[in-house]
Each structure stands twice: as C-alpha cells, then as structure tokens.
C-alpha cells in the first residue's frame, strides 16, 4: 500500500495543491478501487489504474468546488505529535508551501510535485500528463524558480527545513 499510496498522493497533491484535500482524494480513490477491484483484469496494471481513479477523483473535487479550507492542526495529527514545536514548524511550512503551490499554473505545479515529492522521472511525468519530456523539464525549471521566489523572496532559495 505504501508504495502505491505515495504515487497516488503525489498525483492528488499535484492537482489539488493541499495536503488535506489530497489525502481525502486518496482515501476516496482507494475505496473506489476496492469496490471495482473485479474490473481490473491485469494485476500488473494496478498502479496506472489506481492513478487514473485518483486523477478523476481529484478533478471531480476541483470541479465540484468542494475543497475545504486547510486545517492548521487536526485531531489525528495532534494525537501523534511528540514535539509540538516541531509540529507547528511543519504546519507553518506546509501552509507556506500550499500557498505558494496555489500560485503556480497547473502544469508546472503538477510537474514539480510529481518530481520533487513523488520522485517520478520526467518520462513518467510526460506519460502521466500527456506532454513531452522537454516540456516536463521546462515546467520543472519554471516551477522551482517561481516557488523559490515565493518562499524566500530575499534569497530565492528554499530554507524551509522541517
């Protein structure tokens, strides 16, 4: 589950831009996949099949405008916190990242999330998004530059250590 969850989450986050929404989309996708598991003919194609479900679910979420506001600290997170100060720092960093990601165009946002968070290759991203690998590289370059500028306007670098 862990391996597929990471890929599914990366796809959802690249489209939705918020962790809470991406987690909800992933959960919905897992449940939907479980219900339709009998439709899957070839188990080897599970990953692509699951990612299509995630993508459709995320796009539906965007269209229906049911995105909820970002919650600074939900109960489940609070329950597992060992160092509240560290957690607060992560929450703040996350909020800054989400705000910055929201300001990107959809394509660069998807590429930078899939590449830098999901660990996908340009080839995989190109296949997923239906673009060329060159375009994927260009989007990544633009997205990183823009995000660095948004996150740290003074230095243009990412200083958001967790």
């Amino acid at each position: 589950m862990r391996r597929h969850y990471r890929a599914a989450y990366a796809v959802a986050l690249s489209l939705l831009g918020r962790q809470a929404d991406a987690e909800d989309a992933c959960q919905e996708a897992w449940l939907r996949a479980l219900e339709r598991l009998d439709d899957l003919r070839d188990p080897r194609s599970f990953r692509g099949w699951l990612l299509r479900i995630v993508r459709h679910g995320a796009l539906n979420l965007i269209e229906s405008r049911r995105l909820r506001a970002v919650e600074p600290l939900d109960d489940e997170r609070a329950a597992g916190v060992e160092d509240p100060r560290q957690d607060l720092r992560i929450v703040r960093t996350r909020a800054r990242l989400e705000t910055a990601l929201a300001q990107l165009e959809p394509a660069p946002r998807q590429v930078v999330v899939l590449f830098d968070l999901g660990g996908w290759s340009h080839r995989e991203i190109a296949q997923q998004l239906g673009i060329s690998e060159v375009m994927s590289r260009q989007h990544l370059f633009q997205a990183r530059r823009r995000l660095r500028g948004l996150l740290d306007p003074g230095e243009g670098e990412d200083r958001h250590e967790p």
């Binding site: 589950m1 449940l31 597992g80 060992e82 989400e98 830098d116 243009g156 958001h160």
Partner: protein, 123 residues
C-alpha cells in the same frame, strides 16, 4: 549569475512538509482511517469470497462423483440384455384392452358384429 541561478533550479525543492509519510504517526492515522472506511467493503468481499471458495472446494468431488456414476450407468446399460419387446403402450397403461387396440390399429373398419363381440368379451 544566470548560470548560478540556473544551477539553483537544478536542486530539488524540499516538499517534505507536504509528505504524509514523513510523519509515521500521521501516516498510521491515515491507514486506520482508510481501514475504517473500507471495513464494510472488505467484509462484503470476504463473505463473497467464502461462498466462492465453498463452491470451489465442492466442485472437484462433485464432478468426480458425477463422472463415476455416469461411467457405471453406461456399463450397466451396455451389459444388461434388453427384452425383445416388453414395451407397454400408452393404451395398455390406461387400461384399454389389447383387442381394442389391435382393432383400432387395423386398417379395416370393424363390423358391428366384431364390436359387439369385443363388448361381450370385456370382464
């Protein structure tokens, strides 16, 4: 300067704050939330799986027994001699006298005397 800026864009961004797996407790919470949400569907699948597994377990012995019975029945039918003509007609089964049946099957129209004779022959 531009080269430095370009090289800077080659470095990956640290997006780990958005990674739900970076915090094991958080990821465990996601897993348990998913398990709770999927409990109904999993139970339904297990129940259906049980029915199918039962049918699958019975399929082989049932097919084997049916095959043995079919072979034995074929052997019996092949070896037991059949009587030349022991068939019982529908009319006989219904209690119609044999003489009446022969008369009905005959090509000639029965005379009144013959019919009278048959009537008096009845027990």
């Amino acid at each position: 300067m531009n080269r430095d800026a370009d090289a800077d864009q080659e470095r990956p961004l640290d997006l780990s704050a958005l990674d739900p797996m970076a915090d094991p407790a958080h990821f465990a919470g996601l897993g348990s939330r998913l398990s709770r949400a999927a409990a109904g569907e999993l139970a339904r699948r297990r129940a259906r799986l049980d029915v199918w597994s039962c049918l699958a377990a019975w399929r082989r012995p049932v097919l084997a027994t049916a095959g043995i019975v079919a072979v034995a029945a074929s052997l019996v039918l092949a070896t037991v001699p059949q009587p030349a003509d022991t068939r019982t007609s529908l009319a006989e089964a219904a209690g119609v006298p044999g003489a009446w049946v022969q008369l009905a099957r005959g090509s000639q129209t029965p005379t009144p005397e013959a019919l009278l004779q048959l009537g008096t022959d009845q027990p």
